[in-house]
Every structure is written in structure tokens, then in C-alpha cells.
Symmetry: C2
Subunit: 370 residues, 2 copies
Amino acid sequence: MPIYTDAKTQRLCNFAAGPAVLPQAVLEKARDDLLNYAGSGMSVLEMSHRSAQFEDIINRAEADLRALYNIPANYKVMFLQGGANLQFGMIPMNLRAKDVPIDVVLTGNWAKAAIKEAKKSGPVNIAATTESSNFNRIPDQSELKLDPKAAYLYFTANETIQGVEWRTEPVPPAGVPLVCDASSDFVSRPLDISKYGLLYAGAQKNAGPAGVAVVILREDLLARVPEGLVSILDYKVMADNKSLYNTPPCFSIYIVGLVARWLLDLGGLAEVAKRNQAKADVIYSVIDGEPGFFKGHAEKGCRSRMNLTFRLPSEDLEKKFIKDAAAEGLLELKGHRSVGGLRASLYNAQPMSAVEALAGFMKDFQKKNG
Amino acid sequence: MPIYTDAKTQRLCNFAAGPAVLPQAVLEKARDDLLNYAGSGMSVLEMSHRSAQFEDIINRAEADLRALYNIPANYKVMFLQGGANLQFGMIPMNLRAKDVPIDVVLTGNWAKAAIKEAKKSGPVNIAATTESSNFNRIPDQSELKLDPKAAYLYFTANETIQGVEWRTEPVPPAGVPLVCDASSDFVSRPLDISKYGLLYAGAQKNAGPAGVAVVILREDLLARVPEGLVSILDYKVMADNKSLYNTPPCFSIYIVGLVARWLLDLGGLAEVAKRNQAKADVIYSVIDGEPGFFKGHAEKGCRSRMNLTFRLPSEDLEKKFIKDAAAEGLLELKGHRSVGGLRASLYNAQPMSAVEALAGFMKDFQKKNG
């Protein structure tokens, strides 16, 4: 019999890297309101984005994200379509003048993807790279070759595929804005937003379902936006219209709002960070427990608390691990092909019961196969 | 007591122009599966877009759309983010070579919005315009000034705001592809897709919730896509990856799939078109019933069966109409500010019971105020 996180609904343990597990309480609320939201007589799926009810939904989602991160008043919060991939294009399109280079720290697949798109509109400097060790660590500040004339310094807070994370932000030269892809550790711990020029996240890991990206932008940077961009690719248009220039991804925004409210009700990001640390500790202590069987991909000081990547002694054992785990209801543990091995994603909504079930399975698997 | 379309769930009559009413059976299915989709142990909101289950969802959605429209094999079907607004930018970006003009028929706000974005990347010819009569009609083929060297001929199948629709497509010069914004009459009636180079629709009117656009593209046109576009703005990338280059808007695609299946189960587009005609007839016959009170905006031969626009003798009466209707559970009847007056949207999912309730209310309102 598989391990359920909830016996009644027979929900299994979902360790996917994104889209990923959501809080059950959020799903229950969405389910209960699915045919008739708050007495409106209709579903959020059917609701005009110009209606007072939807304005309330989007305004509350923004207010709750602002409360979570204590976002300063001089930052815009936008809900955009196209995920992180569209931001890879939009950020340079909007924030750099023609031919001005940007600095990027190359820490894994997602930084690499951002570089690929940014190069299409101008020069990119690699401020540092950890590619030679297959992205198993985050560079020190001292390793960064920074251009004081760069349009911005770009980094990826957490590399979902490699399982490495920045413990503290890189420090850009004075006057160079810091731009961050926070897709896979968004709202997982407190941050000082005032250090950032722009911080964005595809929602489908920690903050909601696929289909919406949250972009937090310091408003003075809107002065950089050039004329002539396609309207919905223009931060100024989207910010001026409070994400309602065109029809936004209403239902995804609604779920992000429910998740933000759930996080506030838990006690906010400091409390959430504590829980995330505790969950990661459970798995890393198994990995470190008896050397020679599990092998973590990331250096210890850079280990992600969101995406835990590890290998087994052989690929055959890894295949068996994935298969046996799935049979017990522990799903989506396969690592990305570029790292191989295994990956357990322990986002905010991952219940400790699932984490403990995985730890138990790992120990048991080691006993049987070690 | 308000008029419900369903007493148990107290769903009201939603005449919004989009996002808009969805089939109750679709919402019930989504609700029932919201915590655990088809025994997967997770919600579609949480499901990896690389999972076998989601691949099945997106493949079936595509197959059912192909079945509905009988889409030829040499057409790609893509599920993209950014709605119609992003298509306004992507279509010229992808399908015209530098400085080649495109022909657009200017029939209302949505054609105008498409022109605004297309002009950012090159020249646009207005093949015809009906602006002088406030877009109350569709031009005849004989009125179109067409350029045989245009990159494509673009038109808006149904103008949501003005409530006018093309009964048959404009005919482009030989070799010039026809491109159509079908956002507000998508899957509302049969079409011969082979007449089109590209046909697209934001889903949130007839086909699903906000957050996804369906793009149907004749594959030879992919040869036009220039190098260097941002990946997710590149039709070739998105088509080659079957809409899974990046994380797609999974839940919106799932709902589009459920709607497509619902339409097939009803009997397909010929049957749906018959029902849509019958619903529109109910309201237009009230409008035409006793002259001098209700006044349709569109000329009779161009009347939309999706968005029915009409005026009352005074703006005060229009305000009263909207208020009194809402009190009876007939919601979202306010016209767009550029036309004024009233608008009832009768998309596929609009139940005849809601249409009859509106007709009854209109007659009653006329009796009391006429």
C-alpha cells in the first residue's frame, strides 16, 4: 500500500521540481469555491478580470506577497505570463540600453538558459562560472569579475537542477542593480528586497501553479524601458496597468494569493524558512549518515534546501530506487538528465510526513542494497 | 430571489465577455479531480509538465481540438501563454520578413490593438476600415484593398466589443496567407481550417479559462521564422517542442481539453453552432420585437452570435437595466465604454436557461420603462 500524505484523498508524496506540490488547504479551498466563488455565482475560472471580485483577488495576492517579503513601497509587483523563460527575454529587453553588457553568474542550467536569451539582444559577461565542477557550488564574492558599467548583475538564487543555492546575494558594484531569478526558492525564506533591482519567480514551485510569474521591480528602473516594445512585454505598460493591461492568468493568480495567505497564516517567511531547513536536514542527514552509499551533488555550504540532488553507487541502483519509491507512493524522484541521479524537491508545501517517509525509504533502501 | 442557472450551486447568469461562463459539467469534473487527478495522487495544479499524465492531458486536448475543427495534418496546434495580446506581437515577429507590409482589416477594438502592436515591427496597411460608422459592420470583399505582396492578410473573426462578426472569411490574394484572431468565436461553429495560414484564440471566451492561447499554424509558415527570437516567442521552438519547451500553463490547458471533450460529446461544432444561433435568435428577436426601445449596434447581416450589443433610449435607462438585471442574477451586461450601452455574451457554455431569463427580463424591462 502506498504512503499517502492524506488518507481521505489518497494524495501521494510528490517530490517534483515544478510544477510541484501545493498546500492541501489551498487546494481544498479552491475546490470548495470552484463552482461558486464567495457567493459571486461563478467560478474564478469564469470571472471577468475587470470585475470587483477579481480586483479584490489580485489586490489581496499582491498585498499578501508584500506583507510576506516586507516589499518596500517603491517596488512594483507584477503578475505576468510566460514564466521565467519570458523573463529571460524581457529583462534585457527592458532594462539594458543597446550594446550595454550585463553580468551573469553562471551557476547551472537556469543561469545558462537566461544567458542564452540575453545574448540575443546584446553582450553578456560571465562574471563567474562553476561549470568545470558540473555546477556543484556557488562562487564566492571574491571570484566574481564585475563590470561597474554593466546594465545589471544577474544571478539565479537556487539552481533547481543542480541543487545549489546562494546563501547570501552577490554584491554588485555601486549603482549596478541586482537582478535575481528566484523561481525555485521564492517565498521560502526572508529576503531584503531593497537589495534587489528586480526579483522574479515562475510561480510553479513555491508559490502556485504554472502560468504566472511574479516580478518585483524597483520602480526607478522603469525609466530604462525603451519605446516600442510589444505592450505586454513592456514592464512600464504592465506596471502602470497593475498587471491588468490584458487578461491576466486569473486562476493562477488566485492560487498564488491563497498560497501567500497560507504562508502568512503559518507565521510568515521566518517560520517557513525554519520548517524548510528542518525538512532539508532530515534528508541531508540520511545522505551524510553512512558514507559511500548516498552521495550529495552539491558542496555542503551551497546545498539547496529546495532541491536535494544526490547519487547512488550505480545507475542501476538509481533506477531501482526510483521504481521502488514510486511503488510506495514517493513520486518524481528522478534527477534531471544533466546531473543524473536523484532529486527530491522539498518546497514550502511539502509536508514533513512526506519528507519523513522519504527518509525512511532511503534508509531502508540502503539497508537492502548498500 | 435571483435567477440561478443551477439551484444547488447557486450559479448566476454570467454574460461576461471574457473570462466567461464555462460548462458546469467541466467545472464539476475539475472540482472532483482537484485534489487527486485520475488516481495520480496529485492535482493537475501540481503535476510535472514532463509527467506521463500531463502529456496525456495535453495530447488529448490537442487531439480533441483537431477532431472538432478537423484540422489538417500539416497544421501545428500550440498552447501558448500571453493571450491574444502576445500574438499581436508574435505573429508579425515570426511571419513577416523585415519591412514587408501586412494587410489588416480594421473592424473594431481588437483589430486596432493588433495593428498597434504590428506597427512596432514594420508597415501595416489598412485593407479596409469601418471606423466611420463606429465599427457597426463588416466590410464586403469588394471593399478590401489587398496587397498581393503582403506578408499576410489579418482579420478579427468576431469583434467582442462591437459585436460584429465575419460570416465568411475575407479572401486574400493568391499566395498571401490568411491570419485570424478567433478569440471570441473559437470553436463556436465549423470552419475550414485549410483556408487559414494561422488562426489563434485566447481561450478565455469559448474554450477555457484565461492564461492560454491556442495557435493553429500551417507548418510551411515556420520557414519564415527568423533567427534570434527569444525562444518562447519563436513559433518554431514552441512547435518543435509541442508546447513543452518551457512549463506551459498546465491547468488552463487541462480545462481547454475538458471543454473540447464537452463540445465533442455535444455533437461537435455543427451542433454547437446550431445552439449558438438559437440562443442569439432569442435575444435578437427581443431587440427587434418592438422598435424604438432596444437598438442593436451592429447591422443585421454582421451581428455577432457571441457578443450581442445594444442600446436603450437613454443612458439612465441603461444604468437602470444593468442594476436591475444584476439584482435578478443577470450579471456583466454592461457594454464596453467605446460602444456604450449593453452587451450580452452568449458563448458556447451559456445555457439557454440564462438566455431565456435575459429575454424575459428584457421584455419585462421594456414593459415597465418603454
